[in-house]
Amino acid sequence: MRLLVSFARFWWDFIVGEDWTIAAGVVAVLAGGAGLVAGTALSDTAVSLLTGAGIFAVVAMSIVVGALREGREA
């Protein structure tokens, strides 16, 4: 069990890294995009632009908020 936890933690650190909010934001936006594709009749152009803009917004916000937090702690 400990080996499994260590293995999972290694891959979490490797892919997600120090700031999990960025990964969580990306997954949330892509889930929203999947909802748009499956549940609406939006065109490919609209889905790609909306999802892309969502990713930019969430990541930019996460980086700035995370950096502000680190700046305050430093």
Binding site: T51, I55, I63
Partner: protein, 267 residues
């Protein structure tokens, strides 16, 4: 040459070069202080394991997933992974995180190697074997990850492997000639460029992969097709530039921070 191919070659070459620099520093420190036999055995073992990981994961991804699902899974992983590089590079560029210092890493590794006791297993100096194995494996895994994810989605593993090979060969040649840590390589600039490329293609492919939720599972088409990669790259470039401008005033002066904190954070 398509945008994907150009991005693929540039990303794998640069990522490989920067990771080889870090692995080279560790191997050099072990080799010079503990001897080359065990150090090279650790390095070779890590390379063999990396080849196995690459072959198994590459085969599994190609064989098990349809195109749009592969784009979604691999694109999302590439995006999240690439954003780590971009975030760190932004924080370093605006002074909120110290720069990675190869000379300092070399000094620390050398010091640790001198202090470590002598333990022999299978006729090898176990400390030198384990440290060089871990260093090469962990740095190499990042290169393998980029080569596989990028190569599969751009449909050109040979270009991905050639790019990574060229980056590694350049670093090893320079390292063999200089016989010292490659401290002058502009690591943050390279990591910034790789982070931008990984985030760009990760965004592009993960959105294309959302087509797996359509009837028929055809990939989503960006407006302008493949040329939109440049638009996505420009957007990430603009966001990074704005973040650095916004966050730079928050950076504490280097002089006011203890050296131990700076070294630890730079890793």
């Amino acid at each position: 040459m398509t945008w994907s191919m150009a991005g693929l070659a540039a990303a794998t070459l640069l990522a490989s070069a920067v990771e080889f620099v870090e692995a080279f520093t560790i191997v050099l420190a072990m080799g010079l202080t503990r001897g080359w036999r065990s150090t090279l055995a650790g390095t070779a073992s890590a390379i063999v394991l990396l080849c196995g990981v690459a072959a198994v994961s590459g085969y599994a991804l190609i064989s098990w997933f349809p195109k749009s699902l592969l784009q979604l899974i691999v694109g999302s992983l590439l995006l999240v992974f690439g954003l780590q590089w971009l975030r760190k590079a932004i924080l370093r560029a605006c002074g909120l995180k110290p720069m990675h210092d190869e000379e300092e890493t070399f000094r620390e590794e050398t010091e640790a190697a001198r202090r470590a006791g002598e333990e022999r297993r299978a006729g090898l100096d176990w400390f030198a074997f384990v440290v060089s194995f871990k260093g090469v494996f962990l740095e190499g895994l990042e290169v393998i990850f980029i080569v596989i994810t990028f190569g599969l989605n751009a449909h050109s593993m040979p270009v991905a492997i050639a790019g990574a090979g060229a980056g590694g060969a350049a670093v090893l040649t320079a390292g063999a000639l200089l016989h010292r840590p490659l401290a002058r390589v502009p690591e943050n600039t390279i990591k910034f460029a790789v982070g931008l490329l990984l985030s760009t293609f990760g965004t592009f492919w993960s959105v294309e992969g959302l087509g797996v939720f359509k009837q028929g599972s055809a990939s989503i088409e960006w407006p302008g097709g493949d040329a939109m990669v440049l638009g996505v790259l420009a957007a990430w470039g603009g966001i990074s530039w704005a973040a650095i401008r916004l966050l730079a005033p928050l950076a504490p002066s280097r002089a006011s921070r203890p050296a131990a904190t700076i070294t630890k954070e730079a890793a």
